[in-house]
Symmetry: C2
Subunit: 487 residues, 2 copies
């Protein structure tokens, strides 16, 4: 077994499409390896440093995953003998020789899930969607069934143009919109074009690219797989500190070789604050002065509960802000539909790259979403979801006030998750206790850019939007059980 460590890292399936990012993917992969019998009880694992090198990820991520799996009982750590697979592991779910790829084993799923990234998918409006599909497919011209246009169906681009202007204050000519198979594809395309600016965006390895040509500023709290997409495109990332006013965009002026700043202005992910008007102005002014771009990730901009949502930053300067939205939070990740609205200067290179380097999304769901938008079904669905998520957030806040008054909820009343501030030093033990009770839960630590220098802050990221409605009360109880009781 030890001889196979050379390929162990490569054989681990890190599924970054699942919830929870790289750390969660690594946890799933390691549990899979134990459960399937690839890692037998007593087997010694590679050092966190060596596995981190194999996987090309931060050592802390591996060390943290090992610690969590020790806490969960999958692994054991003994002084001087490294980390080993625990002797008393669960029964194997599948025979050792059946390493079938496929969706995660149901047995692997926690009973309760409060990890962010997925809306309550049990609410997908099946009937309304099917009705829209019927209208859309019946009305579609024959050419809609041919090879899809790389930029997306014109019907969807027109519908998005109207909707985004109305709901988010986005100035979006349909010609400026490119439909993507998710936010990650959009970010990947933009990163590759920004890396190549002044170079050759269609270039291939060997065409003179250098790793690390330029960087993109990111928020010091965010998703590690967003940073990975940027890094895989050959750029570096540099963190902007995030405080109660959002990302400190004033820092941009002092940074070298920054091509763009990736921001979540409406609702910082995951700390939940809105970008202060001064910071919005600083971001746009920097982009204008330098000719660079703000990449606006408006992942949950439709969900604000205390007031009308603040309009998109893009409305301030469509030639320096790229707007990005997605159906993954408002409808379902299964659709694999997202969109970006591009400045004139980026339109041709992004379009050329998408045309040649990526496969277009299927047309049928695009036609259906267009009909869903123009018929008003999207607005109706969002109204219902807003009420539902708002009620859950209220329930969470009330339950905390009653049962754990020491815990403060920070951030604005918006989105599908809340941040619970914890007493210093308690985050990791609470997350572990939750996982022991089959409650999947992330601490803020898992969303902290390892290169950011801020003082660590103990908090929980509680995605009240994730569980199905019927289980929400149970999830809330499970959460309260692992929180420190108030005085």
């Amino acid at each position: 077994m030890e001889s196979s460590w050379a390929t162990f890292g490569r054989d681990l399936h890190l599924d970054l499409t699942g919830p929870g990012g790289l750390r969660a993917a690594l946890l799933r992969a390691l549990r899979d390896a134990v459960r399937s019998g690839r890692l037998t009880p007593g087997t010694r694992l590679p050092s966190s440093r060596s596995l981190a090198v194999d996987l090309g990820i931060a050592r802390n991520t591996v060390a943290d995953a090992y610690a969590e799996l020790v806490a969960e009982g999958w692994l054991s750590a003994r002084q001087g003998s490294g980390t080993r697979v625990a002797e008393r592991v669960l029964a194997r779910a599948t025979p050792a020789n059946r390493r079938a790829p496929g969706p995660a084993d149901r047995a692997d799923r926690p009973r309760f899930d409060l990890t962010p990234g997925t809306p309550d998918i049990s609410t997908f409006p099946r009937t309304a969607w099917l009705a829209a599909a019927r209208r859309a497919l019946t009305a579609a011209p024959s050419e809609a069934f041919g090879y899809p246009a790389p930029a997306g169906r014109p019907e969807l681009r027109r519908a998005l143009s109207d909707y985004l202007a109305r709901a988010r204050g986005v100035r979006a000519d349909p010609d400026r919109i490119i439909v993507c198979a998710g936010f990650m594809q959009a970010l990947g395309l933009l990163s590759r074009v920004l890396r190549a600016e002044g170079g050759n965006p269609l270039g291939r390895p060997g065409d003179g690219w250098r790793q690390g040509d330029g960087q993109i500023a990111v928020e010091s709290y965010g998703l590690d797989f967003h940073r990975h997409v940027i890094i895989r495109a050959g750029l570096r990332t540099v963190p902007l500190q995030v405080d109660e006013h959002g990302a400190d965009t004033r820092e941009l002026a002092a940074l070298d070789d920054v091509r763009a700043a990736l921001l979540t202005p409406a609702h910082q992910f995951p700390t939940g604050v809105a970008l202060h008007p001064d910071r919005r102005a600083a971001a746009v002014n920097w982009a204008r002065a330098t000719g660079n771009y703000i990449l606006e990730d408006d992942y949950d901009g439709e969900f604000r509960y205390d007031r009308q949502p603040v309009g998109a930053l893009q409305g301030l300067d469509p030639e320096h802000v790229v707007y990005m939205g997605t159906a993954s939070k408002s409808l379902a990740p299964a659709l694999r539909l997202a969109w970006m609205v591009l400045p004139e200067r980026l339109l041709d290179p992004v379009f050329a790259l998408k045309r040649t380097g990526e496969w277009p999304s299927g047309s049928l769901d695009q036609l259906t979403l267009a009909e869903f938008l123009t018929s008003g079904a999207y607005d109706r669905h969002l109204r219902g979801m807003r009420l539902r998520y708002r009620r859950r957030r209220d329930q969470l806040v009330e339950a905390l006030a009653a049962h754990a008054p020491a815990i403060q909820v920070s951030g604005i009343a918006a989105g599908l998750h809340a941040v619970l501030e914890l007493p210093p030093g308690t985050e990791q033990s609470i997350v572990q206790a939750a996982n022991w009770q089959s409650l999947a839960l992330h601490g803020l630590g898992g969303f902290t850019d390892p290169s950011a220098t801020a003082v660590p802050r103990d908090a929980l990221v509680v995605a009240y939007g994730t569980p199905p409605e019927h289980s929400f009360a149970g999830v809330l109880d499970a959460l309260l059980r692992v929180l420190p009781p108030g005085e």
Copy 2:
């Protein structure tokens, strides 16, 4: 205008997703440039050599496109003054400053289309598809609306496993099937894994990859964008001669550093012959003896009119043959759904690469296709299409016999296209005459691997499956008008 030639190649939008491959994409891009006013009348074009270098394509492709556009009247060529935009060009479709990306302008479309790559999309079974969607979405578990599994929905993999075994003799455990967003994505993934075999399939530029590590044998007649996908993955291609028995797979044994052979055994594309049993055996024996792979492109294996289709090559040896099929010919390219069935050894690396490097296809169409397959709707649709295409082929053969008896139809009675053998030296003038009459038509020359050494063969590739039913008689008349009359 002359000063912008440095970026002219980069600004050309080569849309490889459309029909007709690179040559057709270049033609469309150049016509777009003239029509939009980016290229004004009298403007001198870069030399074919220089544009070819800019675009990274063969000079012949550019020279051929220039010649065709001269023939069509878009460009003019004068001795000593190079190629220029013709003075009397069509009215501009859009103002010069609106270079909107999007589907090709309708005005650009020929009146009649006999180019291969697309089935008769006017026959898409909208009602049956919607009925399957209703059943599939109603029955789907909630988790189906979450992030899609990278290998595809389990419902679709099970349905394909049954269908492919029954209809094509494929031995396909559902765990061996990976759903892709089209054949090109499948070929791209396989190429990258085969390039990296013994290396690191997840590697990135700088991780030790060298261009040209290994090669894939291709048929000397085929699609240039398939070769381009292989080359972009860092492999070379080497042609196998194609004769009346299909690709000469006996040549494989003498080739160096070949990792795989990409073949169309059921119906060679585009020459239309079936791979001879001896050649099938030679292919599989080579793969077994060397540990390499046959990549079986079964693009139209369901359409055979004179007998039951020959089973897939994959059935002979599932551990050395990768089977690839698609819904693009049987249903519609708009679905962006294809599948591959993998040998055990390739399963993990292909899966790992798809998981990390590509975005999964949306789940809803996958669920619908699964239901479409299991309910028998797919079989019913194929039966109807088989009758329709067969009737068109018969009409074509009869019309030729009556009006152009010198023209022979070669290849088996199968698929969505036929090959018409022409008198030597007449192919190019017939194709140009057809284009003049707004009949889009390709000669065999456009499908000939430029590195193949066979004697050029004059022939037309007539995709009788492409036009909508109501226009087929008109298309046939237009074709007959440009063919040399019989004696």
